[in-house]
């Protein structure tokens, strides 16, 4: 099977390790990975901050770049949710405003073919044991988009549960938002920081040495808070844990 990797702008720029891990993992599972270099950003920040009209060309660009692929895989819950949940809405709004159905038609093929990484592994490849080895105590933060938009459910936990050497411990208040929310973190910095600090305290209370999530935006916020508070476990993206093997451990 051949898939397109949609890495997302944040991962590309700040977290290339997550991208390399995703490629390594998928390749190990026999998937042929392609990285369309014209890809940029899904437009989520624009959309969520109120700049819907700026997000539209980005949705179109995304559809142009990925339209020809049978499956598009991304290690980012929030960007997957942007494509799956909000691209159709963008198309509909453009139509309702009398700007024609062009955008709706452009996004239609990519919407159902875009998968968040754990969905792709569990639903499309049908695997939960990806042959990973990671000898650490890990706690998992489900992230709002993963939890409530994509409804990832227990997919991440099943994947983590099958990792050799990994001890999965429950995160108190797991379903609460970490406080990132894109520009929310800047516009309402005090509330955002308070939410982040509570998330760090909860993570710390588990005694885990690693905090795992399937979205680096949330991990950036939580990790940044941890670094400032000098507390809490190390933030690691789920893809990096799943890519880790006995031969090539992630450390």
């Amino acid at each position: 099977m051949r898939v397109a990797l949609f890495l997302t702008c944040v991962n590309d720029t700040l977290y290339p390790d997550t991208g390399r891990a995703t490629v390594k993992l998928l390749t190990r599972l026999g998937v042929e990975v392609d990285f369309p270099e014209a890809q940029t950003c899904c437009g989520q920040a624009h959309y969520n901050t109120g700049y819907r009209h700026q997000a539209e060309p980005l949705a179109r660009h995304f559809s142009d770049v990925f339209g020809g692929y049978e499956a598009i895989v991304t290690p980012s819950g929030s960007c997957a949710a942007m494509v799956r949940e909000l691209y159709p809405r963008l198309g509909e709004r453009a139509r309702a405003e009398g700007r024609g159905g062009g955008l709706a038609a452009a996004v239609a093929p990519v919407v159902p073919r875009t998968y968040e990484l754990t969905e792709f592994l569990v639903d499309v490849l049908g695997v939960t044991d990806v042959g990973a080895y990671y000898p650490h105590t890990v706690t998992y933060h489900p992230t709002c988009h993963g939890l409530r938009s994509l409804r990832l459910g227990d997919r991440p936990a099943r994947l983590l549960g099958a990792v050799k050497g990994l001890d999965l411990v429950e995160l108190p208040g797991a379903e609460e938002c970490c406080g990132f929310g894109g520009t929310f973190a800047v516009k309402n910095a005090a509330v955002s920081a308070a939410m982040g600090a509570d998330k760090v305290r909860n993570a710390e209370s588990t005694g885990a040495d690693v905090l795992c999530a399937a979205d680096n935006s949330c991990l950036m916020h939580i990790g940044g808070t941890m670094s400032r508070l000098k507390a809490g476990p190390r933030p690691v993206h789920l893809a990096e844990i799943l890519a880790s093997t006995e031969e090539e451990p992630l450390t």
């Binding site: 290339p16 709002c144 939410m195 940044g224």
Partner: protein, 491 residues
């Protein structure tokens, strides 16, 4: 009591102050977590919850779509039952009507129950200016009123107070309004409730005018419904000679049968009870029972304008259960006052800027008072997609657009103060439209990574004041891909 929210600072400043108040945060955290866990259990008991939620949504949408028809039907039925209907386009008109109705009775005191609509329009202040004293009779409203405070929650307006604070308020203030608090009052719930009961009983027995709100109005019979748990509603609705109900036009439902849905979803969502202790219904007047005169003031105050907005109108489905407040992580930290309105929390963040417009600083900041985590949408018993409306209103703030104000379509200009953000968004959009530029930017960032600060200047400072930025990697992913997979692959 200072019921007005005019001149409120914008949400972020008000919230910052609240976040720093340790007592407030502890009170809120305790109260919201207790109720949210109980609600989850009460809802889980019903295996048809999803269907009830969908039914509630449909009933409300249908009614809103034919609002004119159902309101006329309601007026007809109320009139036939011996009541009088008054239409109020805005707060000033509603206040004028109610004040006149009270003055016509010759009374200078009224008792009040369950009436967020009257807080929305500042009725107590208007009455006071006309020499009429209004006594709140919901326990929490009483605490707020005695404490010269403002409500901070839809269901539990005094949620920001703990028992010790309430005892102090009762001791200091009750005597100035009527029966004083008993000697040696402690902060046990039973004693506090008894003190309130004695204080209020005196008011109920004396009052000849009652003012209420309503949770629902049934168009087919002209019946109003109040759902409550203390019994004070029953007292206010039956003892006075004149009853004036002030109700938002969106509270109408077509038939009695429709109540079947909401009387299940409302109590479970709000107090986590299977059924609330008191459900009172009243229809016009009856010779030998209840008030001799009944007036219904139908309040618009921005509601039909809101109805004109395709995305935003869903906010009018709200049945004021407060479930969205109790799960909201932002409400939990910021408290209800920061929202600058009688409607706090997620629903307030979408309702107030629609009812009042986005011209004031606080109203323009409300659509941003959310991390868009989606918890509010998930619990809402009438499935209001609050995050969707928030983003829609953000668009209105930064890009302007067409809205209806007092029935007239007007074009709003973008709000001030977003120029830098708009420029940044445009620049980012340009870069993302040009993969080559993105790549160049990433390379530059990587090459200069050694000198990158971990704190940000300008508007980003708010971020880096409490969080560290991740270090910029030596090589962006796309360069690694090219290096390992060859130039032009996958392009």
């Amino acid at each position: 009591m200072s019921g007005t929210f005019v001149g409120m600072p914008a949400f972020p400043e008000a919230a910052r102050a609240a976040v720093g108040d340790a007592t407030l945060r502890a009170n809120l955290r305790h109260a919201t977590h207790t109720i949210r866990d109980k609600r989850a259990r009460a809802v889980a008991e019903l295996d048809d919850w999803a269907r009830l939620r969908e039914a509630g949504k449909r009933i409300k949408d249908h009614t809103l779509r034919h609002l004119d028809r159902y309101l006329l039907r309601l007026e007809e039925a109320v009139t036939a039952a011996g009541g009088t209907v008054h239409w109020a386009a805005d707060a000033a008109e509603a206040n004028r009507i109610v004040t006149r109705l009270v003055q016509e009775t010759g009374e200078s005191e009224v008792v009040k129950v369950k009436s967020m609509a009257t807080q929305e329009i500042g009725l107590n202040e208007a009455l006071e200016a006309a020499g009429v004293r209004a006594y709140e009779t919901d326990l929490a409203e009483l605490i707020v009123q005695l404490g010269h405070d403002r409500p901070s929650h839809i269901l539990v307006p005094a949620i920001h107070r703990n028992r010790g604070e309430i005892r102090d308020i009762f001791r200091a203030e009750m005597g100035r309004w009527g029966r004083p608090a008993p000697e040696g009052l402690t902060d046990t719930p039973a004693e506090l409730a008894e003190a309130a009961r004695l204080h209020l009983r005196e008011k109920f027995l004396r009052a000849r005018v009652g003012i209420s709100g309503a949770n629902f109005m049934v168009a087919e019979t002209g019946t109003l419904v109040v759902v409550e748990s203390e019994g004070n509603g029953r007292m206010c609705l039956t003892l006075p000679e004149t009853l004036i109900s002030v109700v938002g036009v969106e509270k109408v439902v077509p038939t009695w049968r429709d109540l079947e849905v909401f009387l299940q979803t409302l109590p479970r969502s709000s107090t986590a009870e299977r059924m609330n202790p008191y459900t009172s219904t009243w229809t016009g007047t009856t010779d030998s029972d209840g008030p001799r005169a009944f007036h219904l003031v139908l309040l618009d105050n921005g509601r039909t304008d809101t109805l004109a907005d395709e995305v935003g109108r869903q906010a009018l489905r709200c049945i004021r259960c407060s479930a969205c407040l109790n799960v909201c992580p932002v409400y939990e930290r910021a408290g209800g006052h920061a929202y600058g309105s009688v409607y706090p929390g997620p629903i307030g963040a979408i309702l107030s800027p629609q009812l009042r417009g986005t011209a004031s600083a606080v109203d323009a900041s409300l659509p941003y008072a959310s991390s868009l985590c989606g918890a509010c949408y998930e619990v809402c018993p009438v499935a209001i997609d609050i995050p969707e409306v928030l983003v829609h209103l953000r668009e209105r703030v930064v890009e302007g657009g067409e809205v209806t104000r007092r029935g007239v379509r007007v074009r709003l200009r973008p709000a001030k103060g977003h120029a830098a953000e708009r420029a940044a968004m445009r620049a980012a959009r340009w870069v993302f439209g040009h993969p080559g530029a993105l790549r160049a930017g990433q390379r530059l960032a990587s090459r200069t990574r050694a000198v990158h600060p971990r704190t940000l200047p300008g508007p980003g400072r708010a971020w880096s004041a409490t969080r560290d930025l991740p270090p910029v990697p030596a090589e962006p992913f796309r360069d690694w891909w090219r290096r390992t997979h060859g130039e032009g692959s996958g392009a």
